[in-house]
């Protein structure tokens, strides 16, 4: 088998409930800031919960210059494009050289897409017998529109793809983007995920009784469900040799990923954790690593009673006795669960942890659960020299994705 090209991360960008850019995100993660609070984006009357991880004071023009039209861009489109601009600038690739744009692609893990904007359309359709409903509002309703906007705004000619596997989409998008470069379909890929806060999606989780009425507290004995959030999280991926040749800053490397399916139930995870176990094992295999190599696990950790116990069981199964000495944290208590963006957002968390040498904490933790007995880093952020970080994303439909990130220095040498 031929040796695979190494694919590194040279740019990062995010907007989420605790930060509007990467430097602020590092500070918030180290300080353990909680971004979950009362929503003001829509009416929450009649819901079991009024909280969420909303991005406050988002003014698109603070991020996107007047060079770009915002017409018919959904909140998801604007958030993802803003994060893209930050990531490209961070990578030293903005404005994008024409030659690179020819072979540059976009891969996005999507979720609600333009569903937020579509709500008013549906309302018109129902209220006035549809006579005044403006169907043009549907032009950005589908989550693929975000990737189209990014590519079109930046004049890209490379591949475009949008993943829609609910909460694992962002993670799969990162793995797929790596493959696109390894397969020679693209020389650079803008990869990540976006999830806007939207009432229709909120209503869905409300109906499933998955929401914590207050603020989520992962791995806690009294955890009562998840908190929904919104975010855009974008990475710039390039082959290592290209990054080195242009002297780019290297944040980290995608070592491998795995995708599996529970084949168990549409909304409940398999309590035997088979899908999660196989997903972590597949990612380790793809990375050429063993369970000995992992220094920190950024957990899916949604704070639903079933997920956290299941994930803990899976980690013990994969890592054996070592599970007890690997720090595991869920950053969803800070950012909330950002669904389609979560895998990419937590990918960024993993890379920042490697780069800045710290483990972000599981906040809001109060009472230990006998079923969750690992080291969840509940006392606050911890300094640590990390080499390999594993990030889990599990989704409705039984979709599981695990991505593994590695540290490498400015010469591309893996810190082993």
């Amino acid at each position: 088998m031929q040796t695979k090209r190494r694919i590194v991360i040279t740019g990062l960008g995010t907007i989420n409930a605790v930060a509007h850019n990467i430097p602020d995100f590092v500070s918030a993660l180290s300080a353990g800031v909680c971004g979950i609070g009362p929503l003001d984006l829509f009416e929450t009357d009649g819901f079991r919960c009024q909280n969420g991880g909303q991005i406050k004071n988002f003014s698109p023009r603070n991020f996107i210059s007047h060079h770009f039209s915002l017409k018919r861009m959904s909140r998801a489109d604007m958030l993802s494009f803003a994060a893209t601009l930050e990531a490209l600038t961070d990578a030293g690739l903005y404005p994008l050289p024409q030659q690179l744009a020819e072979d540059a692609g976009v891969v996005i893990g999507g979720g609600s897409g333009g569903l937020r904007e579509a709500e008013s359309f549906y309302r018109d359709l129902l209220n006035k017998n549809g006579r005044h409903a403006r169907f043009s509002k549907l032009s950005t309703v589908y989550c693929a529109s975000s990737a189209d906007r990014i590519a079109s705004n930046l004049d890209l000619s490379g591949p475009k793809a949008t993943f829609m596997t609910a909460c694992s989409a962002g993670g799969t998008a990162l793995g797929y983007a790596r493959d696109l470069i390894q397969n020679g379909q693209a020389k650079m890929v803008i990869a990540g995920g976006v999830e806007p806060m939207c009432r229709i999606t909120y209503a869905a989780f409300n109906a499933l009784k998955s929401l914590d009425p207050g603020v989520c507290h992962p791995f806690d004995q009294n955890r009562a469900g998840l908190s929904l959030g919104e975010a855009a999280a974008i990475m710039i991926l390039e082959p290592l040799e290209k990054a080195l040749a242009r002297g780019a800053k290297i944040h980290g490397e995608i070592l491998g990923y795995g995708v599996t399916c529970d084949s168990f139930h549409m909304t409940a995870p398999d309590e035997n954790a088979s899908g999660a176990i196989r997903s972590m094992q597949a990612a380790l295999r793809d990375s050429g690593l063993t369970s000995e190599d992992v220094d920190y696990i950024n957990a899916h950790g949604t704070a639903t009673p079933v997920n956290d116990a299941m994930e803990t069981r899976a980690i013990k199964e994969v890592f054996g006795k070592r599970a007890y000495s690997i720090p595991v944290s869920s950053t969803k208590a800070m950012t909330a669960h950002t669904l389609g963006a979560a895998g990419a957002l937590e990918g960024i968390v993993s890379v920042l942890a490697l780069e800045h040498g710290f483990i972000p904490p599981t906040i809001n933790f109060r009472e230990p659960d006998p079923a969750c007995d690992l080291d969840y880093v509940t006392e606050g952020a911890r300094k640590a020299d990390l080499r390999v970080v594993l990030s889990n994303s599990f989704a409705f439909g039984g979709n599981n994705t695990t991505v593994i990130f590695g540290k490498c220095d400015k010469n591309g040498i893996r810190n082993e």
Binding site: L126, Y142, S145, M164, N206, G258, S263, G397
Partner: protein
């Protein structure tokens, strides 16, 4: 077999199973008989009242009995789009001669493309929320509003637990899914992957298309899907699910299965366009074809047949014809081109059904005719009126989407073993 051949066969991806639920029949036999005979599925819409809309025709699946394919236990949880997917996936697995068991289930997966998902369920969900409030939203509906539901339901129904992903990128969803599946088998992520596309007709979706002025007739003329025709006047809405089962040549040989064809390579690309709009020219299409040919290690001279994306739309068909005229200018005889959307309408994730059809073509040595093509818009070698006998060593499957996204697959006959 030497070491080199063994490596080649591990990386050579073949199609060994076909499963179809389409307006031209269920299963490859009925579909094959009708598509090669030049049957057209376009007729007045029956499953909902379309009288208030500006168009009235569609290509609908009419004779689908979910109970023939899906267990009673799971059927009630599935909506229409999931039922079509599970049925087509079951047919593809059976056709490939694979029985899911505890030994192989973790190495079997699904990578599905859907452009719009369950538009019927999403509207129903939004309606309850907006009319009756959040408390009355039915939780049973929730999982089916998400686009990965068909793949999730299918894995539960058929019991496989390997790689499972759903891609949604408008009209190239299925082609992207298939390209990804090829790369996943090569990466060693699975032994068998079911891949393809699904989209369904619903009243809401049909109305949306008429409001976007996408459907035939755009003029006062007859409502018909006329790909590549000088007088084309819009597309006709369709639906369908086409799933192929792929594996490595090495695996097929070991199991003693005769593949339909090899997937030799793929190319992906894009060009700037407005959302739901078309790019200005065919530059992106040409570049993507060139990527696909390079990926497969062949040149334009080698292409003998094309299954086109053309659907009767004014701009799409023009751009696509323009690209072929230029890319194959040097290819003296030129490839035979067929556009199946004349018979099947546009179902957006049509790449699944069309890849099944092209695999059948490779095995049969014939390309099916293009329905609705009377006066070609360009001097290209279109397959018209009746099937064209042709030995297919290399064929292109075109995926072209509004928004400016392209995927081309290269399919061809298996090399003589």
């Amino acid at each position: 077999m030497n070491e080199q051949e063994r490596t080649d066969n591990a990386q050579r991806i073949v199609i060994t199973g076909i499963g179809m639920v389409t307006p031209l029949g269920i299963g490859k036999e009925e579909f094959g008989r009708r598509i090669f005979a030049g049957d057209c599925a376009v007729s007045p819409v029956q499953s909902f009242d379309a009288s208030a809309f500006s168009s009235h025709c569609g290509a609908e699946i009419t004779d689908f009995q979910p109970r023939n394919f899906i267990s009673i236990k799971n059927i009630r949880r599935m909506d229409k789009i999931s039922q079509l997917t599970a049925a087509a996936a079951r047919l593809a697995l059976e056709d490939a001669g694979i029985t899911v068991n505890p030994d192989n289930r973790d190495r079997i997966g699904i990578i599905l493309g859907t452009s719009f998902g369950a538009t019927d369920v999403t509207v129903q969900f939004a309606e309850t929320l907006l009319k009756d409030g959040p408390a009355l939203v039915n939780p049973i509906l929730v999982p089916n509003t998400v686009m990965n539901a068909p793949a999730g339901h299918t894995s539960i129904e058929l019991g496989f637990r390997g790689v499972n992903t759903t891609i949604t990128h408008f009209a190239v969803s299925a082609e992207t899914a298939i390209a990804y599946a090829v790369s996943e088998i090569r990466r060693g992520a699975a032994d068998f992957i079911l891949t393809g596309g699904v989209d369904i007709l619903s009243k809401f979706y049909y109305e949306a298309l008429t409001r976007f002025h996408a459907l035939s007739p755009l003029d006062e003329n007859i409502e018909e899907s006329k790909p590549f025709d000088r007088d084309r006047n819009g597309m006709v809405a369709g639906e369908g699910c086409g799933i192929i089962c792929i594996e490595s040549m090495e695996s097929a040989l070991a199991r003693g299965r005769e593949p339909y064809c090899v997937i030799k390579g793929f190319g992906q690309g894009s060009s700037p366009a407005t959302p739901t709009g078309w790019p200005e020219n065919s530059a992106g299409v040409k570049k993507t074809i060139s990527r696909a040919l390079t990926n497969a290690g062949i040149t334009p001279q080698d292409i003998e047949a094309i299954s086109a994306a053309a659907n009767g739309s004014i701009t799409l068909d023009r751009i696509e014809a323009e690209a072929y005229a230029e890319v194959f200018a040097e290819n003296k005889s030129g490839p035979w081109i067929t556009a199946l959307k004349g018979a099947l309408g546009e179902s957006f994730s049509s790449g699944g059904v069309r890849t099944c059809a092209l695999a059948l073509s490779c095995a049969k040595g014939a390309m099916p005719p293009t329905c609705g093509l009377y006066t070609p818009l360009a001097q290209l070698k279109f397959v018209r009126r009746r099937e064209e006998k042709i030995e297919i060593n290399n064929a292109l499957l075109a995926g072209i989407s509004f928004g400016g996204t392209y995927v081309y697959l290269v399919l061809g006959k298996c090399p003589d073993a």
